[in-house]
């Protein structure tokens, strides 16, 4: 059987306890994402710190070695280490993706509260959330992005 009816489906109101539970779940998921964002930022900071320390050491070795021997091997090692720069930009992209998703979950939770519980006369109604813009991160992998000169 196929559904061909284009009319709006009848409104279904969730029982209040179920709506409250769903709202809690959405907010917990949003908080977990924010925790993930802090973990990634912390790990990325450490990673970049070690990256800088490693490249500083290699460059110091190169300065000493170039006086007395062919430093080709050290140049190769340095090239391998600096080759990680593209992948090391993951934190910025992950952070934007997480922020966007977390915001979306919070908007869903607010909407659920409004729809299920209605506006409380004693409290100020929640303001309408601004429309969500598309997710700014559309990449699926960490390959270098495109370059366009105008």
């Amino acid at each position: 059987m196929t559904c061909t009816d284009d009319a709006d489906p009848p409104a279904v109101r969730l029982p209040l306890p179920a709506a409250a539970e769903l709202q809690d779940d959405l907010l917990v998921a949003s908080c977990d994402l924010e925790r993930l964002q802090r973990l990634l930022a912390d790990a990325s900071g450490d990673l970049i710190g070690h990256f800088h320390a490693a490249t500083d050491e290699l460059q110091a070795l190169l300065r000493v070695a170039s006086d007395r021997e062919d430093p080709a091997e050290l140049h190769r090692v340095l090239a391998q280490v600096t080759g990680a720069i593209t992948a090391m930009q993951f934190q910025d992209m992950a952070s934007q993706l997480i922020s966007h998703t977390s915001h979306r979950l919070r908007v869903c939770a607010d909407r659920l509260a409004r729809e299920a519980m209605g506006d409380d006369d004693d409290e100020q109604a929640l303001p309408d959330a601004p429309p969500l813009r598309p997710n700014p991160v559309s990449q699926h992998e960490m390959d270098a992005g495109s370059i366009e000169l105008f």
Binding site: A41, S44, G45, I48, H52, T55, T82, I85, T86, A87, M88, Q89, F90, Q91, D92, M93, S95, Q96, P134, P136, V137, S138, Q139, M142, D143, A144, G145, S146, I147, E148, L149, F150
Partner: protein
């Protein structure tokens, strides 16, 4: 030595960009968002501005528009380095006066190459 203003609200991105540009022989000044960049740009000259798009206080396209209104930055190359890859956003960058649009993540060699092409 060419001086480049690198603008990004992400500390890790600023570090990656600075590392790449300093290794290529450029002097780099960092700014944490468009407003910070605007304040830094008003007190000195830069050979090129490399800016993120999505930032608090002032985004990259607004920064580009403001810089282009200043005669000092009329012909300074401005590159936007962003996760945004949509045509509509690119066209907005172009209309604001950006010189080019680079989608993250960047490849260090390609970034240096494109800067070499546009810098004066």
């Amino acid at each position: 030595m060419h001086s480049i203003l690198a603008v990004d609200d992400s500390a890790s991105m600023r570090q990656m960009v600075s590392f790449t540009l300093k290794n290529a022989g450029f002097h780099v000044v960092e700014a944490v968002d468009g407003q910070d960049a605007w304040e830094k740009a008003s007190s000195r000259d830069f050979s090129l501005v490399l800016t993120d798009q999505n930032m608090p206080r002032m985004d990259g396209i607004s920064l580009t528009r403001r810089l282009r209104e200043d005669p000092k930055f009329k012909s300074t190359p401005i590159l936007i380095l962003t996760t945004e890859s949509g045509d509509q956003m690119k066209q907005a960058g172009r209309a604001a006066g950006a010189t080019g649009w680079l989608v993250k993540p960047f490849d260090p060699a390609k970034l240096v190459e494109v800067i070499g092409k546009v810098i004066r």
